[in-house]
């Protein structure tokens, strides 16, 4: 949402050099901490993906049920004797997969639609905006809820449900800047020179949009993680036995009084993850906004 506000003051100049943006990102404390946290979380997901977790996240050890945190089980065990630490790592991976695919899909569809609606106007604009308006008017969590109930449940359909909810945000974020870019001299010049439209879109418009879309992607990732968790909390998340952070919280809800670590571990990981994504989003926005050059 903050990006939507930033989008109103779109940088029309050429995008800042990539290396400079990186430097700026890592120089700001928010960006640095965010990047580190996200890197940590991605690394955790990586270890799970490579099978490097201390225990198999779905292997059950019925004799070691509900053990509190110890040297052997860092985050304790759940009611099946599964290692909560290993499950949290694997859960990050699954949640990340849902979030990334959801945001990628919505960014792809939303930005494409937004660019077309902004650039072509007329016949394209009408339907795109109509669909956007409808999706916006539909309460987002309820939309995700309805969609998640509709499909056969697996991580991909959850991702698609979340993606549909976020499409209109990307349409709005990208369309505004395109509208103003369309009227700038260099685009007008390009059109006069007879450069094909697709080339104008890809070579000239897209780079100018990249900053806003990247920031929006980062922030949306954090929402997607939270939405997946909220859906799981209502019992509509990723199916077992593969752990996702949300479903771990859901399963542990009733254990909160007796085996708190089952709730605390995935809960804390969600918070760290989302804090990291938000900080990174802030850092990226500052770093990619050319006007910030003079402040730094």
């Amino acid at each position: 949402m903050t990006a939507a506000v930033a989008g109103q003051q779109v940088p029309v100049a050429a995008p800042p050099a990539r290396a400079a943006a990186w430097r700026r990102l890592l120089r700001s404390p928010a960006g640095l901490v965010g990047a580190l946290l996200v890197a940590l979380v991605v690394a955790a997901a990586g270890t799970a993906l490579l099978g490097l977790t201390p225990y198999d996240p779905i292997a059950q050890h019925p004799q070691a049920r509900l053990q509190p945190p110890s040297a052997q089980y860092w985050f304790g065990t759940d009611q099946f004797g599964r290692d909560v630490f290993s499950r949290s790592l694997a859960g990050v991976g699954n949640s990340l997969r849902v979030a990334v695919v959801a945001v990628f899909l919505s960014a792809l569809v939303g930005t494409t639609a937004g660019i077309c609606a902004g650039f072509y106007g007329g016949r394209v604009r009408g339907p795109v905006l109509a669909v956007t308006n409808v999706l916006f008017a539909f309460p987002p969590l309820l939309l995700a809820l309805t969609l998640a109930t509709t499909f056969t449940r697996n991580w991909l359909t959850i991702a698609i449900a979340i993606a549909i909810v976020y499409v209109p945000i990307f349409v709005r974020v990208s369309r505004g800047p395109v509208l103003s870019l369309r009227e700038t001299d260099f685009i007008k010049a390009a059109r006069v020179l007879g450069i094909p439209t697709w080339r104008i879109l890809v070579r000239h418009l897209l780079p100018n949009l990249a900053a806003i879309v990247i920031v929006q992607v980062t922030l949306s990732l954090s929402w997607a993680v939270l939405t997946e968790a909220a859906l799981s909390f209502l019992g509509l998340g990723s199916p077992p036995p593969a752990p996702s952070l949300g479903s771990m919280v859901f399963d542990a809800k009733i254990l909160a009084g007796t085996a708190w670590w089952n709730l605390a571990a995935p809960g804390a990981v969600i918070v760290v993850f989302v804090v990291g994504l938000n900080l990174l989003g802030d850092g990226l926005r500052d770093a990619l906004d050319p006007r910030n050059g003079r402040n730094a």
Binding site: I58, P62, Q79, F80, G81, R153, G235, P241, D251, I254
Partner: protein, 515 residues
Amino acid sequence: MKLPSALSAPATRCVLAVAAAALVATGCSSGTPGKEGSTGSGTLVVGYTADPNTLDPWKATQFQAVHLLEQVYGTLTELDGDLNVKPGLAEKWQYADGNKTLTLTLRQGVKFHDGKPFSSADVKSSIERIQKPETAAVAAATVKSIQSVDAPDPQTVVLHLTAPDAGLLAGFATTNLAMLSKDDTSEAIGQKPNGTGAFTFGSRTAGQSVKLTANGDYWGGKPKVGGLEFRIIPDQTSVVAALQSGNVQFATLDDPLVAKSAEGSGLKVAKTPSLSYHVLQLNARKAPLDKLDVRLAISCAIDRKQVLDTAALGAGEVTGPITSPAYKSDPNARPCPTRDVAKAKQLLAGAGLANGVTIPAIVSQGEYATSVNEAQNLQAQLKEAGITLDLQTLESGAYVDKWVAADFTAAVALNGGRPDPDGMYGRYFTSTGNLNRVAGYSSPELDKLFAEGKATTDPAKRKEIYTQVSRHLEDNAAWVWLFSSYGYTATTQGVAGFTPMANGSLQNLRETSLQ
């Protein structure tokens, strides 16, 4: 220029005042929970996780609806604490004509809540309407054996049966066969229930509560509480929170974890073994489960106790097919009394599946608390025997759709039990049973045994017959019976006199008092 109201100085003061008032109110009343002006002091508040989804007793299968309607409606027979049949609206009965005629004598002076007297005409009309397909009564199959109903005088009902039906009297004791007034329509009682039960229907507010008032004219004596309020609190953990704060005095819990947390906080928690059973249903009409060895391998590879310990934290009992106290199956009477992975592998190899086999299984999420947990443990155990349980977790609507259509190879299920074994399994495991498609298994031996069980009213003989039924089901691994969990009743300290029942019924709320 004017500031928008939310930020102008007077408005801000006002907002702060409201917030402060709320905080003060919070502080003041935190010590006096449970006070309510609108209902009488003798009202027992029952915590309840969902609205009853219908007020039609003939269509009610949801727990909440049944728990509510059994307070309002009466049945011909009732069950005692050991689930033996006892008189209800029918005071006594007599079999004749080789058990093909059943004469019921009705209780005198019973009145419906609207003041009309209850008579044999109402019984005749109720049974006949239940049998009509248009009524879509869920228990229509239970009264299938009734060919015709005579009402020679107001206190006498004569039932002519197509064949002897020893389970019929126990079958009558369900709210799904409640007696309705002959003048009431399904639409009318859907709005304003009118029964003969201990409580009359008061009012309801969707998503919040249903209120009942004690019936002074009840034939069993006026209930000890002035009324019941079923208060809807969507989440079981929140129900426990409500009990702890004293705002709710009575609740049934099915989640052992929740019950445990309630136990630890000064509430009275009683557990009752329940009739319903957790089971891995196998569809013997679908490959590879059509092979007996594959089914037996699954049965041998599962330690029931482990499923119970992990999924339900040990809160229940390992069980065989029949759960009713009088006919209980011996849980160890099966081909592998203890887990035997080697035997399972050997059986698989014998079926030509030495390299393992994959079996898809449907699991419902949200239908009951332990489903997904059971599925996960079954999956882990079967994996060690080379059997891959491919779990398909479904939202409860999708699960019910597939279950009803028998569109599954295996299903993790929690099925309701009945006091009479014929009522419990006749519909599943006889080839003409209306649930046989879902059961996925039948055999001529079973058909014969069930027919014998129906024909005799001698308890000892029947016990013998149903032990054989149970044995046959286990030997053929028709399904894999796992455990029956405890039902929990949690109350505050002041609640007394409630007797929980194995069929989960709350009929004894009429004998419960509140200090």
